[in-house]
């Protein structure tokens, strides 16, 4: 079990109390070494993989001495062609070669001379063998030695690279991550071509043995953050990690916050940009969603396309998103507060039309808004889960029934429908789905406050919410940066986006001391050719 995180209560001087799990220690305890007898090893493996019809073992004798060799692999996880073509062929070739395969160095010779495969490691324990087989490698066992060879032949037909469904762009790369970790890291490597891009491997989940990689740019990243990420990852001890969300929830700072504190994306370009500006990406095998830490709130209101559009447009769309955010959070609450508490704020003619529209409405405004909001959430959920063609039908029926018939039947006042629809549109305007979820939940709280204390209640709600937001941190970086604490230099990529030539610095709070992006001392601002130069 992972220690329950009330850890912040404890003093800063005590972190040594909890030892990070050291891989070697545990494997020695749990995993016996391989035996030097091939038959023993084979029995062990067969007991482990009882009732696993996809577990394959192939015995063959190699060399002139006919040394027995055992190949273990999982059918379907390995690349059949490699196994048949390369490995078997190489092993058979030993017979014809004149190098004598015998003695303790057999395994070295096989590895170094015969196998026409790149990715080979020596392993010594049963656990490692087990893991290697389960992750799609071929394990080669040899009579007379307690070492085994793990031959990387991972071959699994995954999804091909396609356009990500959740983050559509008009301009920008259209490739998205797939479920295969190797493919994903390769896509990243293709974008960042420097040895400074470090990938570190973790295997999480006792049962799922999910491979997790953290990626960062050495020399740019704040090393404290990397250490913190590694520390938190190494503390994870669960049976399964099936999606990056498992990891996200186990390493975030404030587990009970409604706000997501770790951003995720399935776009390689977005991840690459994050890594380049000093963030750490966490790749999880089996999911296209890659986590980005540390995360600030503004990131949830930014889309990767902001950086590909002209900066003036990007800035204005970001401002619009802030308006959207406010509307999505507060519009129903403000509607209730203003119409039922502070009529004065409405223009007189609007007040009269709202009054007229509500004439004869059977339910109080709060109930109306709540019902409509819940209906809207249900419609959205229904549209999301159902098969695509049906989903459209749902939205049509929902729109027609709720928007038109309910008003016609004077069950709901038309203004409420307008408000709820506006709120819905506004919440679609927030680029991050998980952040929009937080806003959707808070909206109901705001409605409750507005209906008891009016605008004053909304004020209290906003104050508590912002107090929570400013005290949040994501891996040591204040969540509300660069607004609070205010940092003028970092503002260039928050509410506004300056043109690329003006973004000379990486965000200070993320990249700490390594924040110089451009090597020039001067701006890269394009200058029209000077007439006088001619």
């Amino acid at each position: 079990m992972r220690p329950f995180r009330f850890g912040k209560m404890k003093k800063a001087s005590e972190p040594e109390l909890i030892q990070p799990r050291v891989a070697e220690v545990e494997t020695e305890l749990e995993n016996p070494k391989l035996s030097s007898s091939l038959a023993d090893n084979q029995t062990t493996m067969q007991t482990i993989f009882t009732n696993c019809p996809d577990f394959m073992y192939r015995e063959l004798k190699i060399g002139q001495e006919r040394v027995p060799v055992l190949l273990l692999y999982m059918n379907g996880l390995t690349d059949e062609q490699t196994v048949n073509g390369d490995i078997l062929k190489s092993l058979v070739n030993i017979k014809s070669s004149n190098i004598i395969v015998s003695g303790s160095n057999t395994i070295e010779i096989i590895k170094n001379i015969f196998l026409e495969i790149g990715n080979i490691t020596e392993i010594t324990t049963i656990g490692e063998v087990e893991e290697a087989v389960l992750t799609g490698s071929v394990v080669l066992l040899l009579e007379g030695t307690s070492k085994a060879l793990k031959i990387g032949t991972k071959g699994f037909d995954g999804r091909i690279v396609s356009e990500p469904a959740t983050e559509g762009v008009v301009r920008g790369p259209r490739e998205g991550f797939t479920e295969s970790l190797q493919k994903n890291t390769a896509m990243l490597r293709r974008k960042i071509k420097t040895p400074n891009l470090k990938l570190e491997k973790f295997v999480l989940g006792r049962v799922t043995k999910t491979e997790v990689n953290i990626a960062y740019l050495d020399g740019t990243v704040n090393s404290k953050v990397v250490d913190e990420v590694k520390k938190r990852l190494s503390l994870i001890d669960v049976d399964s990690v099936l999606e990056s969300a498992y990891i996200e929830e186990m390493i975030e700072d404030e587990p009970f916050s409604v706000f997501p504190q770790i951003d995720h994306s399935e776009k390689p370009d977005k991840i690459a940009a994050a890594i380049v500006q000093g963030q750490v990406a966490i790749f999880t095998d089996g999911t296209p969603f890659v986590l980005i830490v540390p995360t600030m709130m503004t990131q949830f209101l930014q889309s990767s396309e902001d950086y590909y559009d002209r900066s003036i447009y990007a800035t204005s769309i970001r401002l619009v998103r802030f308006v959207f955010l406010t509307l999505a959070l507060l519009l129903p609450a403000l509607y209730i507060a203003i119409t039922t508490f502070h009529r004065g704020l409405l223009p007189t003619s609007l007040l009269i039309s709202i009054t007229a529209a509500r004439e004869g409405a059977p339910f109080p405004t709060v109930i109306e808004v709540l019902t409509m909001e819940v209906t809207f959430e249900a419609l959205r959920e229904a549209g999301l889960r159902l098969p695509k063609p049906v989903g459209q039908a749902v939205s049509i029926v929902g729109g027609l029934v709720i928007g038109e018939a309910a008003v016609q039947a004077s069950m709901v006042s038309p203004v409420t429908v307008i408000i709820v629809a506006l709120t819905g549109i506004a919440s679609f305007g927030i680029p991050s789905y998980s952040f929009a979820l937080a806003i959707r939940i808070l909206r109901f709280g705001m409605i409750a406050l507005a209906s008891t204390l009016g605008l004053y209640g909304v004020l209290l709600g906003v104050l508590v919410m912002s107090a929570h937001l400013v005290s949040l941190r994501s891996f040591g970086v204040p969540y509300m940066a660069p607004f609070a604490p205010f940092n003028l230099k970092d503002m260039k990529d928050s509410l506004i986006r300056l043109p690329w030539w003006a973004m000379g610095d990486r965000p200070r709070l993320i990249a700490k001391n390594n924040n110089n992006r451009q090597r020039q001392k001067f701006f890269l601002k394009p200058v029209p050719p000077d007439d006088n130069e001619k």
């Binding site: 220690p3 995180r5 850890g7 912040k8 209560m9 404890k10 003093k11 800063a12 001087s13 005590e14 972190p15 109390l17 909890i18 404290k224 913190e228 938190r232 503390l235 700072d253 508490f341 502070h342 004065g344 704020l345 223009p347 204390l453 009016g454 605008l455 004053y456 209640g457 004020l459 209290l460 906003v462 104050l463 508590v464 912002s466 107090a467 929570h468 400013v470 005290s471 941190r473 040591g476 204040p478 509300m480 607004f483 609070a484 604490p485 205010f486």
Partner: protein
């Protein structure tokens, strides 16, 4: 995962100079724009806005003392250095007056803002409900520590300043210079008695002595206070001058909150009108944040006097005492106004000027210095 926050948040240097300024600005302006202009106009008539300038000058001089003490006793706030200066027992006796004073200010501020909300916003809602919710929110914020409060002020302070400036622009069409004239109509007496009244209100920012040890650059204390008080004085000055110039002194002096009345006067080209609620939201938000830092200062001060490791468990009890005082001491808004007008300035002057100058003098005479 122990000490996770500790790694990132050392207790010292958790606020920067900018946040320091906004903390003080919110403190001064929230406290002084609510009811003060009315009282001040009653006291100083048309010269009210001038006496704010006078008070500003006096307060800046007072700030010099506080900033100097902050540097002389590095890493110590005013509770701690009063113990250092006056010894274990007398020092504690004097030192406890500061947190108690902060609690008193908190009581007055929140009661004032709750009354305002009650009268203008929610006339049928019981005052106690408004008070309780305000206290709850400010205690919640205070419990998150000074860092969170400082960031809140950093968000709210500029908004508040902007709201007052916008307000001033919007009511400008109703402003008549002739109502502000003539100055010094009744000699300089109103000016002279007005200045101390507002000084005692500006003086609430002696709370700066609680912030200085937590600031990343304590030597900037004076600068921060200077800019905060200047902005605060500007804000109060604007509100006061506009109130006189719009309502005339006869009406303005009896207004329970001239600022709200100013906001009610907004009628910009017959379209932007009746927006006083919005301004009131900014005002009430500022008072809640300001009082959260007062409750924080109370908790911190008491914790230091009694030698506790953490002040956090004292926040809610402190807020509860303040709430009890606020509810039980004033049967009506009239008593509150009277207390604020006649009694509070005396107490404030004693604590803000008297005690601190005493500490200052004793420190100079006995050659006491901070050790750190």
């Amino acid at each position: 995962m122990a000490g996770k926050k500790g790694d990132w948040m050392p207790e010292k240097g958790i606020i920067n100079t900018k946040q320091f300024v906004w903390l003080l600005f919110i403190m001064i302006s929230a406290f002084a724009t609510m009811q003060l202009p009315g009282m001040l106009i009653m006291q100083a008539g048309r010269d009210a806005w001038l006496s704010i300038l006078g008070a500003w000058l006096l307060d800046v001089m007072l700030a010099l003392v506080y900033a100097y003490m902050g540097i002389r006793f590095p890493g110590e706030n005013l509770v701690q250095y009063s113990i250092t200066i006056l010894g274990k027992y007398l020092g504690r006796l004097v030192g406890i007056l500061f947190p108690l004073f902060f609690l008193l200010v908190c009581t007055i501020v929140l009661r004032g803002s709750a009354q305002l909300v009650n009268i203008v916003f929610l006339p049928r809602t019981p005052l106690n409900v408004i008070l309780v919710t305000s206290y709850l929110v400010s205690a919640l914020i205070a419990r998150k520590g000074l860092e969170a409060i400082a960031r809140m002020t950093e968000l709210l302070g500029p908004l508040y300043l902007l709201s007052i400036i916008t307000l001033s622009f919007l009511v400008l069409p109703a402003f008549h210079m002739s109502r502000l004239l003539p100055q010094f109509d009744n000699g300089v007496t109103p000016f002279l008695t007005g200045a101390p009244l507002i000084l005692t209100n500006f003086g609430v920012c002696i709370i700066m002595a609680m912030y200085i040890p937590l600031c990343n650059r304590p030597e900037n204390g004076f600068l921060a206070k200077f800019s905060a008080v200047s902005m605060g004085a500007l804000v109060v000055c604007l509100v006061t001058a506009l109130s006189v110039g719009i309502f005339g002194i006869e009406d303005a002096q009896y207004m329970s909150s001239p600022g709200i009345q100013l906001a009610k006067m907004i009628n910009f080209s017959n379209y932007i009108e009746r927006v006083e609620m919005i301004w009131l939201l900014f005002l009430v938000g500022s008072t809640i944040v300001a009082s959260s830092s007062l409750i924080w200062a109370f908790g911190q001060g008491i914790a230091q006097i009694t030698g506790l490791k953490t002040y956090k468990p004292l926040i809610y009890p402190g807020a509860l005492i303040s709430l009890a005082l606020g509810i039980l001491s004033f049967p009506s808004s009239l008593q509150h106004t009277n207390f604020y007008h006649y009694t509070f300035p005396i107490v404030a002057a004693f604590v803000e000027v008297g005690l601190e100058l005493l500490l200052f003098a004793v420190a100079l005479i006995l050659h006491k210095r901070g050790t750190a």
